[in-house]
Symmetry: C2
Subunit: 142 residues, 2 copies
DNA sequence: ATAAACAAGACTATTTTGGTCCTATTTAAT
DNA sequence: ATTAAATAGGACCAAAATAGTCTTGTTTAT
């Protein structure tokens, strides 16, 4: 299916939690895990990836933890997804050297679609998730 | 990862092939399989789904096969994906009754993102894949 | 009747995802 | 110095989703 994975979801929850704290307040993986009901080991892994990509800054040692590395208005959904899931592709043409790639009549167009999606994801910022004008309108839409 | 699956890709190749034929020319699953180097059994399954969703029309019996059920300008990527993969969700909140759903601070915004994506997919038509102004510019874009 | 096609469901294999565990390192506090 | 609380990272396992096969049945032109 065409969806973001659970790790990304947990990452988003973690980041959202961090952005809800007072400026530059360090929080721990443990606290994030408890507040969001996610396994500590798992959320730790995710935070490590976010730290590697410099979306959060880690503070080592006792009293350590994590803080957002940038303002939440400067962290995009694209960055988050890419940090956790890796590059965004629609199809993996390169992988296993697709034998159809020469004659493929759809890859160009699909590439364009991928571009557009990434561009759109870049426009969505972590801060947008705080604004949360709580859309409890859970309409079914397809 | 955030991608369309192989079945959708094969479906797209199949549809693209069908749209390249003369008006209303019936083609067979076998021919589609051979021309696109996809297993017959697999592409048959996919064509069945497309037929169920009325994107293609099946012709029973000997000399039977498949034809596009509508003009290729009226078949959207959204329909194709939904026919093959089912509803497009970004996260499956309903599934397994997510325990966080009450307090969840991200689902509203994510719902909006899903909407937008589906809307975008609706604007992309099968006919766009024929136009294929062959973007051999395989730039890396992330 | 036969053969060529679609229809549909059960089944299996493979890959990806989700999740755990263990060991090492850093550092504040005592 | 020692301890305890934290991150870092890799190996590993389990579960789920995806990809692909097989078998049986139905339709219909010849
Ligand atoms: S068939 Fe086309 S879109 Fe699919 S993997 Fe090969 S090159 Fe890419
Ligand atoms: S945490 Fe929020 S977004 Fe994730 S599944 Fe639950 S309700 Fe949906």
């Amino acid at each position: 299916m065409f969806k973001l994975n659970k790790k990304t979801e947990y990452g988003l929850l973690a980041l959202q939690y961090m952005s809800s704290l007072q400026d530059d307040q360090v929080t721990t993986a443990r606290e994030i895990a408890e507040k969001n009901d996610i396994s500590l080991a798992l959320v730790s892994k995710i935070l490590q990836k976010l730290a590697q990509k410099k979306l959060v800054r880690s503070v080592q040692g006792a009293k350590g933890g994590y803080v957002l590395a940038k303002n939440s208005t400067n962290i995009s959904l694209a960055e988050i997804v890419q940090a956790i899931e890796g590059p965004i592709y629609i199809f993996d043409c390169q992988k296993n050297r697709c034998t159809r790639i020469q004659a493929c009549s759809i890859k160009g167009q699909l590439n364009a679609v991928a571009y557009k999606m990434i561009d759109y994801f870049k426009t969505i910022k972590l801060s947008d998730f705080s604004t949360e004008i709580s859309k409890n309108k859970q309409e079914s839409f397809q």
